[in-house]
């Protein structure tokens, strides 16, 4: 696939921005964006056109998931809690992109605080699927994926805590890349699960993901968990050994998804790779670990939203306890509350050892298993989501069913390794299907090169 980003370079930044904003307005019915940062975007465009800002992404418009702090408008995390919140500073990723001339034109919809897999948990209404508006966009980076799929912008930033970049990318037929944990600074990104949160690109091509990753990677003195820059795109991967994850090819997976995954395997074999089925028994427990560890971190990270310093504050409270209770009751969505309660429960005295600690021990075993497998295999392959995009409201009444849609994506987050969702064909009804590839940590370049073998080859 050719780079969409390259076609924006060497054009008037102002025209790029105006066009993107026009497209965004035309596509309003999809509700991909929560706000446009038009004024600031035009200011930036003027600077780029005047040559005051130059760089690898000069004049390229993009959208940022609305849990990433930016200037030019509000950062709401799609929650009532931050409905009127404007940030005094920008996230490191935004600063890096702006330094290279990229221009943020709007903020993309998400599940409130990134809790969800359909963008239906947004306090401001769901985003609709780019291919079928009766279906969900996926999530939580649903708005980002749809904005790219509708070609409003050539790239969008998403965040991926348990699949939130890859799953919506697969639902909308675009490329979603979850980098190695620590490759991209989390500074200025509303925290969800601190030990698994990563920021990554959603694009139409692998080449565009590489362009964005080169800019946003690197150690950040403001984020102790970042890694020094190591990412350098490579044109092609050396054919090697790939493992097909046995546990992810079960009967619980939609037949058309299984079929596309098998075709992808054949494609890789044709390209000279040897693919064999590999079992990672701990992967069966990944979802259980995830829904203990991440809610624990969520309950902690969301404790700051108390109505005292910023954000929503209940008007009805008469004392401190009520201020906390009512502010949080009014400001959070049901799914936020559910995760806060699960998290508080697994951390509480008497349950900590049985749940949180046990889950962390299991996570260590999972990581060990991945490490061992990657000693033998260059990459792992499997589906991204058990199903293609489901219908709006299909799963909203059943949180467990919704959680199960994360089954195939959470292992990479728990392990911290990079993973990509590459569009690979569609269902008979025409719904996009994604295939997932993973490598060991810091092998992001190899992973992208490998994914190229599948790009546009369905």
């Amino acid at each position: 696939m050719t780079s969409r980003i390259l076609s924006y370079l060497n054009r008037s930044a102002k025209e790029n921005v105006q066009q993107a904003i026009l497209k965004a307005k035309q596509a309003e019915s999809y509700h991909a964006l929560l706000s446009l940062t038009e004024e600031r975007a035009l200011e930036q465009a003027t600077k780029v056109d005047a040559g005051e800002i130059t760089g690898r992404l000069a004049g390229v418009p993009f959208v940022a998931k609305d849990n990433i702090l930016t200037f030019g408008g509000k950062t709401t995390a799609a929650s009532k809690m931050l409905e009127d919140f404007t940030s005094p500073l920008q996230a490191t990723v935004i600063e890096k992109l702006e330094a290279e001339g990229a221009i943020c034109i709007g903020k993309a919809n998400l599940d409130a605080f990134a809790h969800g897999g359909s963008t239906e948990n947004s306090a401001f209404g769901p985003t609709k699927n780019a291919k079928d508006p009766m279906r969900v966009a996926g999530g939580s980076s649903g708005g980002s994926a749809v904005a790219v799929a509708l070609d409003i912008v050539p790239f969008a930033l998403g965040t991926d805590t348990g699949g939130s970049i890859r799953q919506p990318a697969s639902f909308n037929g675009v490329v979603g890349f979850k980098p190695t944990y620590g490759m991209v600074s989390r500074y200025g990104v509303v925290a969800m699960g601190s030990s698994t949160d990563v920021i990554g690109p959603i694009t139409n091509s692998i080449a565009d993901s590489e362009l964005v990753l080169e800019v946003i990677q690197g150690a950040d003195p403001k984020d102790m968990t970042t890694l020094p820059s190591y990412f350098k795109p490579i044109s092609s991967a050396k054919p090697g050994k790939i493992g097909l994850i046995k546990e992810h090819m079960s009967d619980n997976i939609d037949p058309s998804v299984l079929a596309q995954t098998r075709i992808a395997v054949e494609q890789l074999e044709k390209a000279g790779y040897s693919v064999e089925e590999v079992s990672l028994p701990m992967i069966e427990h990944a979802l259980a670990m995830y829904y203990i560890i991440v809610p624990a971190e969520v309950s902690s990270n969301l404790a700051r939203y108390d109505g005292v310093r910023y954000g929503h504050r209940s008007d009805n409270a008469q004392d401190l306890a009520a201020l906390y209770g009512m502010t949080r009751s009014e400001g959070f969505e049901d799914e936020n509350k559910r995760r806060i309660m699960i998290g508080a429960y697994v951390l509480s005295s008497g349950f900590f050892d049985a749940y949180y600690l046990q889950a962390q021990k299991a996570r260590t075993l999972l990581i060990d298993q991945f490490r061992t497998v990657f000693e033998k295999y260059d990459a792992l392959i499997g589906p991204v989501s058990p199903t293609p995009a489901f219908r709006l409201n299909e799963n909203t009444k059943d949180p467990i069913k919704m959680y199960l849609t994360d089954t195939l994506t959470v292992p990479a987050n728990l392990v911290g390794c990079p993973a990509i969702s590459i569009p690979f064909g569609s269902t008979p009804e025409g719904l996009p299907i994604g295939v997932q590839l993973m490598t060991w940590r810091e092998q992001d370049a190899k992973l992208l090169a490998l994914a190229r073998e599948l790009e546009g080859k369905a």
């Binding site: 500073l89 500074y187 509480s348």
Partner: protein
């Protein structure tokens, strides 16, 4: 008979330039409320902690002063509770793997013996902000939020209010001498929590304890311990039970007050902090951080044994690191005799400007010279003490000790001819005749009266030894 058992937790504010996890100024004394606050400190969404390396270095040095082990791997944890002075909704602390393990503090007691208190551990953590309650609302000041602390947790090795005071005092000495804290007790640089229980003497079981929190003076520690002991004994003797609870101290009434019972104790839902990687320190890192440690009080005490001074004198000199260091410099450069004079000046001075000693304005050279002048009979000991105080005065900053003594007319007269005149005048006077008779009759004590008269007439400037010699020659 009842016996008390005390363990003390002490929070020490580290003297770093910036806060534990943010670049905000760590010194907010006299600052406008909320003027020393970074987005990390007020917990803006998306903010992340960056561990202050200087705070780690100071903690590691504190560990050395406490004779502790430094952990090669320590971690930070989140302690959750909701309160307006806690912006993140959790305090970042070290619950499971603290940086400082074990240790021992040897505190000198008034009777000359030493109390040895074992330490359980000490951990790093951040301070919370401050609330001011004003009737129907409260004001939040986050200047102190994020200030680096170490909390030093002792074993229950303390058994009297005096011991509690001695331990706290020595801990204060160790922390200020190690240079890890400014030690400003008024601004809460060190705060003590006293855990106390009572049991029958000889009992192998400890009683129910209370924790009296936030004591910030040595006197209040001693008083609070005594009050709690009396209160608990009274309860037990009346057949009642001691409630496990947190108590506060009212310095005005001299009483402890119940604040929170164990039933209200919160579940802090501790969790390892995923934003802060484990703190890994090699033995080499630790050695480098502990390099160039200042002399600790215990070593000074050893060095000063030969001075044969009263414990209270030594303790006063040890009350401030720069005073101790200055006194020690006098000892090594000018010898024991000069040092003893300097020690006594400091000990009897009461309040004096310690910053002048710290800055070196009143330093070992001037003090040593001053002490030497006494040894050389150029100054009387009373005169020298007057000059000692004059050293602190601003108009004397650029003057030598001799110039100051001269300008104060305190230089002793050691010129015989000048003193002879005074001696002869005194011997001739009517009021001296009885003393002269007594001496001639063999009562030598009366010579003191005559010397005193000479001193009086010379306004204290005559060399008393010389005066005595001249008097004897004339009788």
């Amino acid at each position: 008979m009842w016996e008390m058992t005390i363990g003390i937790e002490c929070h020490v504010q580290l003297a770093t330039k910036t806060k534990l996890f943010s670049p905000a100024d760590n010194d907010s004394r006299n600052a406008e409320p909320n003027s020393k606050v970074h987005p990390v400190d007020y917990a803006l969404p998306g903010m992340l902690p960056v561990l202050n390396e200087e705070a780690v270095r100071l903690a590691v040095r504190a560990g050395k002063a406490l004779n502790s082990q430094i952990a090669n791997i320590s971690r930070f944890d989140r302690k959750h509770y909701f309160y307006p002075d806690l912006p993140k909704g959790y305090q970042t602390t070290q619950m499971y793997q603290p940086i400082i393990i074990g240790g021992k503090v040897d505190a000198p007691l008034d009777d000359g013996s030493t109390l040895s208190v074992r330490l359980h551990h000490a951990h790093m953590e951040e301070d919370a902000g401050k609330l001011t309650h004003t009737g129907s609302y409260s004001l939040v000041d986050l200047n102190r939020a994020g200030t680096p602390l170490i909390e030093i947790v002792s074993e229950p090795d303390i058994h009297s209010p005096a011991e509690a005071r001695a331990y706290a005092t020595e801990l204060y000495n160790l922390m200020t001498f190690a240079g890890v804290t400014h030690g400003d007790l008024y601004h809460g640089n060190m705060r003590f929590d006293v855990n106390l229980s009572v049991a029958k003497v000889g009992s192998d079981q400890l009683g129910t304890r209370t924790e009296t929190k936030n004591l910030n003076s040595f006197r209040s520690i001693e008083r609070a311990a005594q009050y709690e002991f009396n209160r608990q004994v009274a309860l037990l003797e009346a057949g009642e039970k001691v409630t496990q609870e947190t108590r506060g101290w009212d310095d005005d009434t001299g009483k402890t007050i119940s604040q929170r019972s164990k039933e209200d104790a919160q579940d802090y839902r501790y969790m390892p902090d995923p934003d802060i990687p484990p703190l890994v320190l090699s033995q080499q890192d630790i050695a480098m951080m502990q390099d160039g440690m200042p002399v600790m009080p215990g070593e000074y005490r050893q060095n000063w044994l030969s001075l044969d001074l009263d414990k209270s004198v030594i303790n006063t000199v040890l009350s401030h690191p720069s005073v101790a260091a200055t006194a020690e410099s006098v000892r090594t450069a000018y010898g024991n005799e000069a040092a003893k004079r300097v020690f006594n000046w400091f000990a009897s001075a009461g309040e004096f400007d310690k910053s002048a000693v710290e800055s070196g304005t009143v330093g070992s050279r001037r003090l040593g010279k001053l002490a030497q002048m006494v040894g050389e009979n150029k100054l009387s000991s009373t005169g020298a003490k007057e000059v000692f105080f004059a050293l602190f005065e601003e108009q004397n900053l650029s003057k030598t000790v001799a110039e100051i003594a001269e300008s104060m007319q305190l230089i002793q007269i050691s010129d015989e001819s000048a003193i002879i005149a005074v001696v002869e005048q005194v011997l001739a006077s009517e009021s001296s005749q009885k003393a002269v008779e007594d001496i001639r009759a063999g009562n030598d004590k009366a010579i003191g009266f005559l010397v005193g008269q000479v001193m009086k007439q010379s306004k204290g400037r005559a060399n008393p030894a010389l005066a005595q010699k001249l008097i004897r020659e004339r009788l």
